[in-house]
């Protein structure tokens, strides 16, 4: 990823390069950038190289007596043949496909509500309210989930009882556990979608919007014909960033269900964490981490391509 951006630090390599690159150790840009780039290279790239190296070796922390022999692509073929890896990845993708449309729809609803100019006080309250889920520590989101979805005293079952629904054991049933994790994710991330879409709505020229409102009272028509193009860049950002976030999703799920019951909520990051730190198979976990990294790099390329097109 770095390509030619980091100039050589050694004096020997300096001289011949000076002729070819405008970015030289002598230039101030180098000294401004060097500390940050060096720090990120050491903490961000070196561990990845180590993971790559370990992924080609047998490396079981519980059984190091046999050393860590080179095993070629064994860890990768084992991972790709492992139904629990595909299960975790499949659950993650399914979770994304079910959760994201709801977050976008609810976010759009909230954004449209906040975009209207009337009721300033209520609008400020809702705007402030939206910040709270985003600021809540992910691990605590999971703890709140455990509290409100509790079978006996949880407030969710209490509220459902008004509709005649008997108490559900949310976190013990595989399907319900996924739904309750979904609900907490929707709670936390809908505001993010809402604020991005709200920023898009604010880009619509005021005159055009006023003219459209005189033309038609239907908000759906205005949304589709006038506001839609302004929402698209934000929507692309949401799609890619949320996809990357789902691959990272760990904290809230870990504190809420620990991946259970069974493997019902064992998403990809939880699964890799279990292989590395519960089964102590570093070689296998490294191979899985590298595969996950490849997915992530593809996503970030997409982000740069479609969202950052004009940013730099």
């Amino acid at each position: 990823m770095l390509k030619s951006t980091v100039p050589p630090a050694t004096g020997a390599a300096r001289a011949p390069r000076r002729a070819r690159f405008r970015f030289m150790p002598r230039s101030p840009a180098f000294w401004f950038l060097f500390p940050a780039v060096a720090a990120l290279a050491i903490i961000g790239i070196y561990p990845l190289l180590l993971a790559l190296y370990n992924s080609f070796h047998r490396y079981k922390l519980a059984d190091l007596a046999g050393g860590t022999p080179f095993v070629g692509l064994d860890n990768y073929t084992a991972t790709l043949a492992d139904p629990s890896f595909w299960g975790a990845l499949g659950r993650t993708v399914l979770f994304l496909c079910m959760t994201l449309p709801i977050e976008i729809a609810l976010g759009l609803f909230a954004a449209l509500m906040l975009h209207r100019t009337a009721l300033p006080w209520l609008r400020v309250a809702a705007r402030v309210g939206l910040v709270i889920p985003m600021a809540t520590t992910y691990a605590v989101v999971g703890l709140i989930g455990r509290l409100i979805f509790n079978r006996q005293f949880g407030v969710v079952n209490y509220l459902l009882s008004f509709f005649g629904i008997p108490p559900l054991d949310w976190l013990a049933d595989p399907t319900l556990a996924v739904i309750s994790v979904m609900i907490m994710d929707i709670w936390q991330w809908t505001p993010f979608c809402a604020l991005i879409l709200l920023a898009g709505l604010a880009m619509v020229p005021k005159e055009a919007e006023e003219a459209a409102r005189l033309e038609t009272p239907k908000w759906s028509k205005i949304l589709w014909h006038l506001q839609r193009p302004y929402l698209l860049p934000g929507l692309t950002a949401i799609l890619i960033l949320r996809s990357a976030d789902m691959l990272k999703m760990f904290d809230a799920v870990f504190t809420m269900t620990r991946g259970g019951p069974g493997t019902a909520t064992e998403f990809i990051s939880i699964y890799i964490q279990r292989v590395a730190f519960r089964l102590f198979d570093q070689g296998m976990a490294s191979a899985q981490a590298i595969l996950l990294l490849i997915l992530t790099i593809m996503l970030s390329r997409l982000y740069i391509r479609f969202v950052y097109r004009e940013a730099v």
């Binding site: 990823m1 030619s4 690159f21 101030p28 840009a29 000294w31 401004f32 950038l33 500390p35 940050a36 780039v37 720090a39 990120l40 903490i43 990845l48 180590l50 993971a51 609803f109 906040l114 209207r116 009337a118 009721l119 209520l122 809702a126 402030v128 309210g129 910040v131 709270i132 889920p133 600021a135 809540t136 520590t137 992910y138 691990a139 605590v140 989101v141 703890l143 709140i144 509290l147 409100i148 005293f153 407030v155 209490y158 991005i196 009272p217 934000g234 990357a244 691959l247 990272k248 760990f250 870990f254 504190t255 990051s269 570093q282 981490a289 996950l292 992530t296 970030s300 982000y303 950052y308």
Partner: protein, 294 residues
């Protein structure tokens, strides 16, 4: 809205139409108010429930049906802080998050300045590399970092967490500050250079003070992200350096869960973050999308 339409009840087509329009507007306002209220209540409710549970006695917290009005107690806070040693973990979180924030400002602002001001080959690639770091799943780095930390005997220290938190706090400082430096007129730099100031001096004496608002915002983001981490701290700390999110999950091992204490710990962790997030609420989206959406 004119008051004349209120008094005239005659069925004249014109006033009828005016009244219909007024009614329609009132209905729209009503729906708007209900919509905003739903947005507000659904965002705040789980948070509200956490805070109130932390203030309830254990009997009230486990009551069926839930109690809405109760005599508040702060017993769970003192228990959590001093008996469960959440105080130490909060201190650890504070040390780790503020060190990571300080380091990322120290390293990140010059880099951001260079990205905003200088032209050089590979600039775009460098910029994209910084961005890509935001997307990397923590578990990808946690696996090799655990081995490195074990080898260097850094497990359960503040240093290892500070270093790991740089992987996301440094990029966020770079993105936000690059944007900030770009907004400072380049003429100021040129004038100072003509007066004989060195590039470093131009950065330090002119640009840094002017970029302060952006730097503060980026520092708050770096702090929030570092404070909120669970995975790295879970993997790399044991007893001495555990951060508050890890302390909050450690209640989960018992049979009868002390819900009041758990929620008190949660409140202590989240409340400062809510204050910080509200302080930068205007730029939350910019921070979370790495400046792509403003």
């Amino acid at each position: 809205m004119s008051t004349s339409t209120d008094t005239s009840t005659s069925a004249l087509p014109l006033s009828l139409r005016a009244r219909r329009a007024r009614n329609a507007r009132r209905r729209a306002t009503l729906w708007h108010a209900i919509g905003l209220l739903i947005v507000f209540l659904s965002s705040v409710f789980p948070f509200y429930w956490m805070v109130t549970t932390s203030l309830k006695s254990q009997a009230d917290a486990l009551a069926v049906p839930p109690v809405w009005f109760f005599t508040p107690t702060i017993a769970h806070y003192t228990d959590a802080l001093f008996e469960h040693d959440v105080a130490q973990s909060l201190l650890n979180s504070l040390i780790v998050a503020s060190s990571a924030t300080f380091l990322s400002i120290l390293l990140g602002t010059p880099a951001a300045y260079a990205l905003a001001r200088f032209e050089f080959r590979g600039k775009e690639d460098l910029w994209f590399w910084f961005i890509s770091n935001r997307m990397v799943s923590p578990v990808v780095l946690a696996v090799p970092f655990f081995l490195i930390a074990t080898k260097l005997d850094l497990v359960d220290t503040h240093i290892v967490l500070i270093l790991l938190y740089l992987t996301f706090s440094l990029p966020i400082v770079v993105w936000i500050c690059t944007d900030q430096f770009r907004n400072i007129p380049v003429e100021l730099d040129e004038a100072a250079r003509l007066d004989g100031a060195s590039p470093w001096r131009v950065f330090w004496r002119i640009n840094l003070p002017l970029a302060m608002p952006g730097i503060v915002v980026s520092a708050i983001f770096a702090f929030i992200f570092s404070w909120n981490d669970l995975l790295y701290a879970l993997v790399l700390t044991r007893t001495d350096a555990i951060t508050s999110p890890v302390a909050a999950t450690s209640y989960m091992s018992g049979y009868e869960l002390p819900w009041g204490e758990i929620m008190a710990t949660g409140t202590l962790i989240v409340l400062p973050m809510v204050v910080f997030a509200l302080a930068v609420s205007g730029r939350l989206v910019q921070g979370l999308t790495m400046g792509a959406v403003k």
